[in-house]
């Protein structure tokens, strides 16, 4: 998750990308009807090349090429130096299928994705409803709840690890409040670790969801709730029947971002469970597994195969989600927009 803000917002428009991908493909198979082929002159071709060339070059060189190479290396048993020679075909993938550590990591990713939706969604909707009322200093509140989102995951991880250690501040507060029974080894206790992680993730990312939902709510025309009020609807009825359904598209896009983010979670887990706790076993994710296996164990071929698997899992989920969940949101955009 190298680019947190960037990364998130990247995926903000992911549905847009998906629909573009499709519309782009469609445009290719059937020649654009309104292209009045007057042919583009050399001057224009030169402009196109000069303006888009550098970006294309960078993108193909540093994104597309490495991704293809990852797929290629995944077929080799390889220590990471020299040209890979030990071709093993699909062996790495067979190993992944049988590797219980990977299954565990995948299971964690699944849990994190589902729990993120179940925990952060309702919390964020409640908070957004709360802040969507007339509140003085609303903009200040918004800035403040956004602060955890802006801090690097490495820093967040380091700080929470210090606070959640067995003799850390959290337990101290609990003990001084007379709740000794609640003090736990939050990080190293295997059955607790995933919940600890979820707590930190919620703390960090709930502000992002609140901001999105608030923006969605402010796009809902005021007349609708006024009309509802005239019809005698209570505040809660209005929220339930009007605000929530109209917030649907925002919620669905947020859920998409949340799922994809959960599948690619790395920094936080690697920092906390790689550095402060003996192993990453408690909360390992596919990405930490890849780095631990591929880089730290110098098993590069295998690490790349894991990367390819992560990619395909994300891709399949993204496609399914777009096909079945986001479709109605993008349909208008697909047919309406150019």
């Amino acid at each position: 998750m190298s680019s947190n803000v960037g990364g998130k917002s990247t995926t903000v428009t992911e549905d847009a990308s998906g629909k573009r991908v499709r519309s782009g493909g469609g445009a290719q198979t059937s020649p654009p009807p309104r292209a009045r082929r007057r042919g583009i002159g050399w001057a224009q071709r030169l402009e196109i090349a000069v303006l888009s060339g550098p970006a294309l070059l960078m993108f193909v060189g540093f994104v597309i090429f490495p991704v293809l190479m990852a797929a290629y290396y995944g077929f080799y048993r390889w220590k990471g130096y020299g040209v890979p020679t030990n071709f093993v075909g699909l062996d790495n993938y067979r190993t992944i299928l049988q590797d219980s550590s990977f299954h565990q990591a995948l299971w964690h990713n699944g849990q994190i994705a589902v729990l993120s939706l179940v925990l952060q969604g309702p919390i964020a909707i409640c908070l957004a409803l709360l802040l969507n009322r007339k509140v003085r200093g609303q903009s200040l509140i918004r800035v403040l709840i956004f602060v955890p989102y802006v801090i690097a995951e490495v820093i967040v991880g380091t700080a929470w690890a210090l606070m959640l250690q067995a003799n850390g501040a959290v337990n101290d507060v609990l003990r001084s409040a007379g709740l000794d029974g609640l003090a736990q080894d939050w990080l190293a206790n295997r059955s607790l670790a995933i919940w600890t992680l979820m707590f930190i993730l919620t703390w960090k990312y709930v502000g992002f969801a609140v901001i999105l939902f608030l923006a969605g709510m402010q796009n809902i025309p005021e007349e609708l709730s006024e009309a509802a009020a005239v019809d005698g609807a209570s505040y809660w009825q209005t929220q339930w029947r009007i605000t929530l359904p109209l917030l649907g598209p925002t919620i669905r896009i947020w859920a998409f971002l949340s799922i994809i983010g959960a599948l690619q979670l790395f920094d936080l887990v690697y920092i906390i469970w790689g550095q402060y706790v003996a192993s990453t076993a408690g909360t390992s994710t596919m990405a930490t597994y890849m780095v631990v296996e591929g880089r730290n164990a110098a098993n590069y071929g295998y690490g790349n195969a894991v990367a390819v698997v992560i990619f395909f899992i994300s891709l399949i989920i993204a496609l399914v989600y777009q096909r079945f969940v986001l479709r109605r949101d993008t349909e208008g955009a697909l047919t309406g927009g150019r």
Binding site: N4, V5, T13, E47, I48, V67, N304, R338
Partner: protein, 276 residues
């Protein structure tokens, strides 16, 4: 429950908002204050207030070359990434938004597909590529891939933006004998400044916080960026919790300052992207 919107609204809302802010900021404040304590204070009373307040941890960090070198490295990487992403991004977006040519759809799809490739997937080949270019342990080794991975977001935000510039302006410019490139330079760039700022901020913060790519590319302490520095510092001084807290809180400051300066743009950009 009727809406009792007096001038101030419902007090319960304020109570909830305060609680929320406390939860969000509490840990951050704990880290900052923790840096003013000594280790013995932290061990005997992990959650207490400093008694007395000790500034030594902060002055130690602030007078260390390591910290400033890492701040410098992070700044260089983030600025270079931002400038290049925005420059290359707006040029390509202009072509995608306002030229008609065969393969335009394919080009857009190619860039858009970049959103599906997180750095995670490509990290090992990227490392090898950077190594072959002789850029391991150098800042360009981090900057170049970051530019490439920043392009999809930038282009996807900017294309609708540039497309929205009315055709009439372009025609008027053409009548005034302004070439397409002249139009790009004189009209498109000034008109798209808000979009450029939004994408620039996203690129800057993303780069400033990035960890996985520097982790692979930079192995030499001298080339570390701040996130790597925090990790190295906290494992090196793992017993010196107070100092780690001071280091951590100082390394939060730049992102927080930057964020508070441009908060409106960031929030506006994120929500705009969702709408668009």
């Amino acid at each position: 429950m009727a809406r009792n919107d007096a001038r101030w609204g419902n007090p319960a809302v304020y109570a909830a908002a305060l609680l929320l802010i406390g939860l969000m900021l509490g840990p951050v404040i704990y880290i900052i204050i923790g840096g003013f304590r000594t280790n013995s204070q932290i061990i005997t009373d992990p959650a207490g207030l400093p008694h007395p307040w000790v500034g030594a941890n902060y002055t130690d960090v602030l007078t260390s070359d390591t910290f400033w070198r890492q701040v410098g490295n992070s700044t260089i990487v983030a600025l270079a990434t931002t400038v290049a992403v925005v420059t290359l991004g707006v040029m390509a977006s202009y072509v995608l938004a306002r030229y008609r040519f065969r393969g335009r759809g394919a080009m857009y799809a190619l860039f858009a597909s970049g959103l599906m490739f997180p750095v995670t997937v490509a990290i090992t080949p990227l490392y090898i590529l950077v190594k072959n270019l002789g850029l391991v342990n150098t800042l360009p080794g981090v900057i170049l891939p970051q530019i490439a991975f920043g392009l999809p977001t930038t282009i996807i935000i900017l294309v609708p933006f540039l497309r929205a510039i009315p055709k009439e302006i372009e025609e008027a410019a053409a009548i005034d004998r302004c070439s397409r490139l002249g139009f790009f330079w004189r009209m498109v760039l000034p008109l798209s400044v808000p979009g450029l700022i939004t994408t620039g901020i996203l690129a800057f913060i993303g780069s400033w916080n990035s960890y996985l790519l520097p982790l692979f590319i930079l192995n030499d302490q001298d080339s570390f960026t701040l996130p790597l520095g925090v990790q190295a510092f906290s494992s090196q001084y793992s017993v010196d919790t107070a100092k780690v807290l001071a280091f951590t809180s100082l390394s939060m400051i730049p992102a927080l300052v930057f964020f508070s300066l441009f908060e409106r743009r960031i929030v506006g950009g994120l929500t705009g992207a969702v709408k668009g």
